[in-house]
């Protein structure tokens, strides 16, 4: 039996929708499951019969997490370090990306490749040299030290991303601003950066996500609990084998993603525009 064109179209739309719904459920289910578990007491988590919905929903896990003495410190450290890392990456990355985009100088290509090369090394290889440098500079156990360490591996990505956005902005616009009397720096701040705002927002969000979730450096470069970050604290909450506090852990997971979701919502418009620009640019 041969299907009519309209029937084929309908079937195609139905299959597309089915695949998208399946993919959506597949992607969202772990998060929904984590959210539901965070609302259960441990006795409702470990049961012979699976409970999908909490029978006695409670926020006790969130309250308990909040009441722990280290919670505020861990969370605060992560917020400050993420803010510093994003600021450093944007500040240095914007300048570097602009220079790579607009100037032709000796060693430009080598420098660009060099930036990428840094990303190709496993982070664990950078641990010992960075540790020794930070120890000699008395930067171990400091927020600045961690922010600088994160910048070492996030700055190359930020620079490459921003360079792509600057490349897409015609230099003629800057020339026009300079003819109107703007300095080079003035043209950047008043003309280029506003046009590149979606790209800057996208770079900021991706950098923030990476810095917020970073675990290895945060564990290696801190030797006291007052300087640890949220991912380290969460990892220690997970424990090893014994007595996993599933409810607390799920609450911690939900809290971990909350700041990133808030940041994403705030920057959503610019971010999507920025990602689309990057996607179609050729």
């Amino acid at each position: 039996m041969q299907l009519s064109f309209r029937a084929t179209q309908r079937l195609s739309r139905f299959l597309t929708a089915a695949v998208l719904v399946f993919a959506g459920i597949f992607a969202l289910f772990p998060m929904v499951w984590t959210g539901l578990t965070s609302l259960k007491l441990n006795t409702d988590v470990i049961t012979a019969e699976m409970q999908y919905l909490p029978h006695n929903p409670t926020l006790e896990n969130y309250f308990e997490l909040w009441s722990r003495k280290s919670f505020v410190t861990l969370f605060g450290n992560s917020v400050v370090i993420t803010f510093m890392t994003v600021s450093l990456c944007l500040l240095v990355g914007t300048s570097a990306a602009y220079a790579f985009s607009r100037y032709r100088f000796t060693g430009r290509n080598a420098a660009l490749v060099g930036f990428l090369l840094i990303r190709m090394f496993p982070m664990v290889l950078m641990l010992i040299p960075l540790f020794i440098i930070m120890r000699n500079l008395h930067l171990l156990n400091t927020r600045v030290g961690l922010a600088l360490a994160y910048t070492t591996f996030l700055l190359p990505i930020a620079t490459w991303m921003l360079k792509g956005f600057f490349d897409a902005i015609p230099p003629d616009l800057e020339d026009a601003a300079r003819i109107d009397g703007a300095t080079r720096a003035g043209a950047i701040v008043r003309v280029v950066l506003p046009l590149a705002a979606p790209g800057v927002a996208a770079t900021a969000v991706l950098t923030a996500i990476a810095a917020w979730n970073e675990f290895l450096f945060a564990l290696m470069f801190t030797t006291n609990e007052a300087s640890q970050t949220w991912p380290v604290g969460l990892h220690l909450l997970v424990g090893e084998e014994f007595n996993l506090p599933w409810g607390l852990l799920s609450a911690g997971g939900m809290i971990s993603i909350a700041p990133i979701i808030v940041f994403f919502v705030l920057a959503q418009k610019s971010l999507v525009r920025g990602l689309m620009q990057g996607a179609v640019k050729g």
Partner: protein, 424 residues
């Protein structure tokens, strides 16, 4: 439009960077005070109840040694060696650290642990702690760690179910099979034995094989598996699932958490683990009545069990902190410290003197560990053993459970893998 000059831009950038750095740069370096030394201690007490026990030990040590401050740091087990190695190479290792016996050779090789043989001998600790417990921290005759507590293998069983069935906990492998079959009632979701067929199950397989009379390596560190005895052991163990259906059908995927929760929610009657999980069992199932502890069963040649000590060692103490570091790790070997820690965590003492302590003798839950601790040694270890167990023993054990290969096939593959692992 006001002009933004390059100088203004650079000034602004510098000011912003300075503002970010403000108040976050470290203060003056820590001054070491020899009269009031601070001792750094890295440990892996992560689980809440274990950490609570550790806090009590800290408080008691502080009361006994008010001049010494302990600065503890929890390090996740999985990242311990990376952090420790980085710190040793960077000359910033802690004064003292917890050390697992499997890691001590590597920690010594990078210069991360000090030889404390002289201090151990002077303090008379060799008399208090059985000789076998020192082996894991002794390299070429030098001692690098003091045993602080032990993980002693034992068995949990549902005392209420056994009482209901009029059975005693099994003491031999044959009785174990009978009990596992008797306790199995799949229609009501009950199985006799929670077998670890997922990650971590490899350690049980090698212990079963040894208990059936096949060593893994000989005294020279060469492969020494006996094919027939190893097959007999593996067949008995896997038959509990493939022939008798006495373990949950999910066995090949069951690891520690699945097994603990299956036991706690009334799905299995017996479970093999060690003393480290006692506190959790008590918390979930109550002090007595529902569950109890028993010795692991005897195989044809020996008990299917081991006792693994954990050690504390001195790493890189600062000037004037050597004696304080020693006081701290020595404190862990004292009877009172070990019994208090046992009561709070279930982590079993390494000192032979605790056998005479009323708090230990008077608690029937500890009887199985007391009977086991001095009868068995640490699990078999050789260079390459973790990889061989994980990559050869476990997957082939799982294939037998799934009916893909026979125990004979699996043992043959294990023996070939062992040859490769030992030859490096």
């Amino acid at each position: 439009m006001s002009k933004l000059t390059r100088r203004d831009f650079l000034k602004g950038s510098a000011a912003a960077t300075a503002a970010l750095a403000g108040n976050t740069l470290p203060g003056a370096a820590r001054l070491l005070a020899q009269d009031n030394p601070t001792v750094d201690y890295w440990h892996g007490f992560i689980a809440e109840f274990v950490h609570a026990g550790f806090e009590v030990v800290l408080e008691q040590f502080h009361q006994a040694n008010p001049d010494i401050t302990i600065n503890p740091l929890t390090v996740p087990n999985s990242e311990f060696m990376t952090k420790f190695t980085t710190s040793v190479v960077g000359n910033a290792a802690p004064d003292t650290t917890m050390a697992a016996p499997t890691r001590i050779p590597d920690m010594v090789a990078i210069g991360g642990l000090q030889d404390i043989s002289g201090r151990v001998s002077e303090a008379g600790l060799m008399d208090a702690i059985p000789a076998a417990h020192w082996d894991g921290a002794t390299i070429d005759g030098a001692i690098y760690g003091v045993p602080s507590f032990m993980f002693v293998d034992w068995m949990y069983y549902r005392a209420d179910w056994f009482e209901e069935a009029g059975l005693d906990p099994p003491t031999t492998w044959e009785a174990f099979t009978e009990a596992a079959i008797a306790m199995t009632d799949p229609e009501n979701g009950r199985y006799g034995f929670g077998m670890r067929g997922g990650n971590g199950g490899q350690g049980f397989v090698t212990k079963v094989i040894e208990a059936f009379g096949s060593p893994i390596i000989d005294d020279m560190g060469q492969p020494a598996m006996d094919f027939d005895k190893a097959v007999a052991g593996l067949r008995w163990y896997t038959d509990l699932h493939t022939e008798h259906g006495a373990v949950p059908p999910s066995v090949a995927n069951d690891s520690f958490r699945q097994l603990m929760e299956a036991f706690q929610t009334g799905q299995t009657a017996m479970l093999w683990h060690h003393t480290g999980s006692l506190a959790e069992m008590r918390t979930v199932l109550g002090e007595e009545g529902t569950f109890s502890t028993a010795l692991r069963p005897q195989g044809p040649e020996k008990q299917i069990a081991s006792a693994t000590p954990s050690y504390n060692g001195i790493s890189m103490p600062g000037d004037g902190e050597e004696d304080a570091s020693w006081e701290w790790i020595k404190y862990w070997s004292e009877v009172d410290t070990q019994v208090n820690f046992l009561e709070l965590t279930g982590y079993f003492p390494s000192s032979a003197l605790v056998a005479e302590d009323e708090r230990v003798q008077g608690n029937p839950l500890y009887a199985a560990a007391l009977a086991t601790v001095n009868e068995v040694g640490p699990p078999t270890r050789f260079p390459g053993s973790p990889g061989w167990e994980r990559n050869v023993v476990l997957p082939n054990f799982q294939r037998v459970l799934l009916g893909e290969i026979t125990p004979e096939d699996a043992v043959e593959i294990m023996m070939e893998g062992l040859e490769e692992a030992v030859s490096g």
